[in-house]
Subunit: 406 residues, 2 copies
């Protein structure tokens, strides 16, 4: 393996040495599916996390924010079916109690346990069921338990999301593995979205958190399903150091290699989230270049990626480029209509703001029939580039959300 | 009629003395429905207009912007079925030619004709058909033609929208009447939205335009159907002065009375637009109070009004208040979750950011079953108030837009 190269591995978070996980049925979900997950590092780990920027935050987010401040953690407990959001003082007490009980079972301090919950807002956690289930959850921990944990954090997801890779840092291979969930309320700065990552890399104090923030910004913060933003989003990373590499220090080449691996892993998980967006049938990359700045490129890409009319056209496999022009024009990014060109896949559709002469619309429709493709927009103004992943807006999305109480 | 009081009248734009209108089939729409409309003031009129703020603008918007600059106009020609947007130099020439031909038929200067087109983007107007139809359109003008004109500007609208009222200004009654269209790409600053208003009021030079801008801001710019914004939006007002009132000068009481009437008329038309939103089954007023500023109140109201998850919950008649909390929290407005209260109709649902004890959820569901209701949010922080009208997001909206090429 060449230095800095990635090698994808099977499995997810438990592909990492020293990481155990488990997932069980606690009875929180009325469906009777798995709803309680635990990830455990057998040795103390460096920890960093990023949470929702929504001003309304769930109790687990508040408690985890406090616990991660020390930069150390050894376990992550997560429940699905009830978000424990807008539940007042009682919600905070419930979240604290869960971390305390997990800490006692694993013989670690409560503040080395991170917590995350997803599901319905405004309903208290069924603590009796959770108290009864936690000992069983701790017993379920195993080096093969990543998949069960990935399953236990799902809500309306249709598929589990896990990924793992090996990357050489400073001449030594380290493993990074993770699981994720999230299919709606998903936009920019995280939303009903969890991503739990573990790595055996030795990362110096102060170096993990910036690497995590950057990877999140380049992966999850470039996705959108419906422009809504959850109150519970959590990305947490545990680094247990079992790879015994030279500690990754800020500014060192090894840290850049590690950060590249982290970004690749999170990008893979982020794309899995969008592809499994509620009711989604397509994963579309909106790539913008030629913007006056990178910020403008991102604003333009987001405006297209979030437009309900663009998203319904993607659903209908309709090469309705006028809606893309409309979405560009309404964005705060600088746009001059007569300089815009647009390609779908490898077929140029729009030139100088107008339908390209001789465009093969049949070819465009064919590309739009695929489950993954790119829409590339050149604003013709400068050198700013960005890309965002989006999905279509389908009748199924509306059906799911008109009936499901989140 | 007491001074400043409004009296609603039957009819629309031709309820105003001296205003003729007509609408015919020119063959632009494949459906064979009416698609060409004309409004004509038999005497020269003061004119003011507001156009889309989208950076991508249709050719008719560019031409009308130029023509309205003189503050005088006598006719408005509008077509539906083809928006004449992203059509390059040819589109501009076509729009200019239409105003020239209408001017010749009505014996008025071309630059006293305003033009507006709505429909598919990126396709040139079928000018042969339009040239052939214009003489017939001019002949169709009549004092009863407002309804035909209202019909000829529709696209996916299911109902015509017209309104008229009489208001006393400075002791003299004046009439204001208008027609409107628009059912998608509809958000803040206007979108595939036309509103053509006529009045017999005498308005002083320089006084009409600010009154129109303010009325648009308080009516159409407070609506949202899908957060998308068209490239063709046009609100145009003709004031022909036949009421022979004392000229309405800036700052005068009469102008405030007139502006009140204009705002009432535009508000009625704006609500008709939202109620007929594509696939919409509900017209919901999102009222926010207790914000730290009026601007914050508007930001919070818009965030709730545009949230796909709130809009699908409205569609499903689901009292899913957690989504309202989420949408408030993601808005740029200052929000403290433990100070928020929310009422649906007259039933208080949320207090201090949590479900209110003893709330009658059955009563909330009953209110949400009605076709019009209010959601009132108190942020508990200050005195800022605003309101926005929105509709639900339905499977029908997706069905319409996945298949219809706009």
């Amino acid at each position: 393996m060449a230095s800095g190269d990635l090698e994808w591995l099977d499995g997810g978070v438990t592909a990492v040495p020293g990481i155990l996980a488990g997932g069980i049925v606690a009875g929180i979900k009325p469906s009777g599916k798995k709803d309680l997950a635990l990830i455990y590092s057998s040795t103390p780990a460096r920890a960093a996390a990023v949470f929702t920027s929504n001003q309304v935050k769930g109790a687990p987010v508040l408690v985890s924010t406090e616990h991660v401040r020390s930069g150390q953690a050894q376990a992550i407990v997560a429940s699905s079916g009830c978000a424990n959001v807008c539940t007042g003082e009682r919600g905070i007490q419930d979240a604290r109690e869960m971390t305390r009980l997990v800490g006692e079972l694993l013989r670690i301090p409560a503040n080395h346990v991170l917590i995350a919950s997803t599901g319905v807002i405004g309903v208290p956690l069924p603590m009796d069921k959770i108290r009864a289930a936690l000992p069983k959850l701790a017993k379920s921990l195993s080096p093969q338990g990543g998949r069960a944990a990935a399953e236990a954090i799902l809500t309306t997801d249709t598929r589990i999301k896990e990924a793992a890779l090996r990357v050489e840092v400073g001449g030594r291979p380290v493993t990074i593995g993770g699981i994720a969930k999230g299919v709606a309320m998903l936009e920019p700065h995280l939303a009903t979205m969890f991503c739990f990552v573990a790595t055996d890399a030795v990362v110096a104090r102060g170096a993990l958190s910036p690497a995590v923030r950057r990877a999140v910004d380049r992966s999850f913060n470039r996705t959108t399903i419906d422009s809504d933003q959850s109150t519970s989003d959590t990305v947490a990373v545990l680094a247990n150091g079992l790879a015994e590499n030279t500690p990754l220090e800020s500014g060192a080449r090894g840290l850049r290699q590690f950060a590249g691996g982290l970004e690749a892993l999170m990008t893979k998980l982020a794309r899995l989230l969008v592809a499994d967006g509620e009711g989604a049938t397509k994963l579309v990359t909106i790539a913008v270049r030629g913007a006056t700045s990178r910020r403008d490129a991102l604003l333009a890409a987001r405006s297209v990626a979030n437009s309900p009319l663009v998203k319904t056209a993607i659903n209908g496999q309709d090469p309705n480029w006028g809606r893309i022009m409309m979405a560009l024009g309404k964005s705060p990014a600088r746009v001059e209509q007569e300089k815009v060109s647009i390609a779908v896949g490898d077929e140029r559709l729009v030139e100088r703001g107008m339908l390209k002469e001789g465009v093969r619309l049949e070819r465009v429709r064919e590309i739009m029939g695929e489950s993954e493709y790119d829409i590339t927009i050149d604003l013709g103004l400068g050198r700013g580039e960005e890309r965002v992943w989006t999905c279509d807006l389908s009748e199924e999305y509306v059906r799911l959300n008109a009936k499901y109480t989140t």
